[in-house]
Symmetry: C2
Subunit: 342 residues, 2 copies
């Protein structure tokens, strides 16, 4: 029993390329909405193993995806650190913005995350052994931006200023996040996750020096702690929007896989990172939303750019307006070379 | 009489690195504000050669910058194409959003741009011959985003969707913008600009296929038209945020200079583009705003990353809150190796 995604992450070229999609378990699926409605709120949903495991499995059941990704959120770690997090409809996550003085007073009650490991166990038990279960956490910088800014902002300017002006406090915050994230990933792996992914969604527009300090170092910290704990599962890094800094990340962080945003020319990235690193990505999610011939061409463009070991995915997440038939079509296109798009 | 910036753009390494700053003529300067107040509005300001030439010269007079950049705006071209453009205090530019049907009805009355050439003439006459006068236009995609969306938006999603869904119309719009921009650059060069720069400020987060279509092709069109007109002035391309697509841009568009946003590791970019292409950038504008030791380190980090022919600059523009003493300090640091930051 082998998992295609594990084979790719060991450096093999597997064709047709295995495929899954970021945020594949989400609002574009009616069966997801049905379960979602039974939860009190989004956080309750994430911490309810029966519900979370059910929606984790849905896209594999429906689409025959090659992987299930744990249904959870990158902002569960701030909750474990004692921060107030709420998800407001139409606005996204809202946190109590962090001050320098809050950092030394952060909680470390990681037991709050335990329902997530129960979800992992339930999913792994029910999932086809040939399918991969991906656990994940947010990248420390990305998580820190939400903790400092209190919400998602386009430029992350408040968090960047915080990082420049409070060097020691920021480094300490990133260490706290990294340590909690390492514990979280270790526990997911022990509960049965086959692969671990680190979502550094806001790796864009950082100077190389800031990127080194805010992204690379804390991520290295996570990975050494995970490896020191004896966890051998492959790890996928996702420094979205990092541009050439993502190449530095590949060499410095040494994950088994590198997930890439929509903007990355895959063949050029391959030339820079060598033959064995598994790449993942990077269909434009906007093309998936638009569908039709736009989507067909976008899928073909990605396929044409792929070199070496590759896992097909989007460059970012599936949005609620995506048509189910188009997700089917993308998968069929990847597996058979053609499909009907709507 | 040689201009250092022209030497760099011919592939020579000049030390200390010549320096200028994007939006160096702007609201952080009291002498700029004094002239600004005498203009009816921002567009009137751009189209008043006496005022525009005065503010163009101010940063060279005050800071001894190695270049003056024409005071104008990338949205003058849409005005020449007959679009309504206004600049609203605290909100930025607002345009009448373009529909597909508007494209074939675009004006082509480029005479409205003539005051800009008069500004160029006045500046070149008054500017030290060893200083470079840089003319510019917006990149076609960046200009198109404003024309389609009616304002600056973080994700340019409306413009990207327009580009996907209206392929022919979009390509035609980009051609119209490119042709007007080529005419505009040719006229600036004929009026005395020593260097021409194309500001593709929103080159980020485009799939390689869209980047090719929306950024590279229309920019190639501008450049061939400029060269066909016998203009030999060097051109600097600025595909800000393009990541690895910026490398494709360097090879495909073949400008003499490549300006880079804050996120680019200069030494890595140098390794990818060869020894002779002049690079420009890429100090974090946020570090300039913060000043002090943050700024000192950020300047030193950029200096340490530079390889080969280089023009020192920011990765984006000077903001109104920047302290004049810190601009002085950056220049002194570059020229003498040290400076006092505030």
């Amino acid at each position: 029993m082998t998992q295609k995604i594990l084979e790719v992450l060991s450096g093999q070229v597997i064709k047709p390329y295995p495929v899954w999609m970021m945020r594949q378990a989400g609002r574009h699926l009616p069966e997801y909405m049905k379960i979602r409605e039974t939860a009190k709120d989004f956080i309750d949903f994430c911490f309810s193993p029966d519900k979370a495991s059910e929606v984790t499995l849905q896209p594999v059941n429906r689409y025959d995806m090659d992987a299930a990704i744990l249904f959870a959120d990158i902002l569960l770690v701030p909750i474990a650190l004692g921060r107030q997090v709420s998800f407001i409809k139409g606005k996204g996550p809202v946190l109590d913005p962090l001050t320098v003085n809050d950092i030394s007073r952060l909680d470390n009650d990681l037991t709050v995350l335990e329902p997530v490991y129960e979800t992992v166990k339930q999913v792994r038990k029910r999932l086809d052994p040939e399918k991969t279960l991906i656990g994940f956490c947010g990248g420390p910088w990305t998580v820190a931006t939400y903790m400092i800014e209190g919400q998602g902002t386009p430029k992350k300017e408040i968090a960047k200023r915080f990082a420049y002006e409070n060097v020691e406090a920021m480094d300490s915050l990133l260490e706290r996040i990294a340590d909690a994230s390492a514990h979280y990933l270790i526990s997911q792996a022990q509960a049965g996750a086959d692969v671990l992914k680190i979502f550094e969604s806001w790796a864009e527009n950082l100077s190389p020096a800031l990127f080194e300090r805010l992204v690379i170092k804390p991520t290295q910290r996570i990975i050494s702690k995970v490896r020191e704990a004896g966890i051998t599962q492959p790890i996928i890094g996702f420094p979205r929007g990092g541009g050439l800094n993502a190449v530095r990340y590949a060499y410095a962080v040494k994950t088994e896989g590198l997930a890439l945003g929509t903007d990355v020319p895959l063949s050029d990235m391959r030339a820079l990172v060598g033959d064995s690193l598994a790449l993942q990505g990077n269909l434009d999610p906007l093309a998936l939303r638009i569908g039709g011939d736009t989507l067909r061409k976008a899928v073909q463009n990605v396929l044409d750019e792929i070199r070496g070991p590759h896992i097909f995915n989007l460059g970012h997440g599936v949005t609620p307006d995506v048509k189910i038939d188009n997700v089917y079509a993308v998968i069929k296109h990847i597996r058979t070379g053609e499909a009907d798009y709507v």
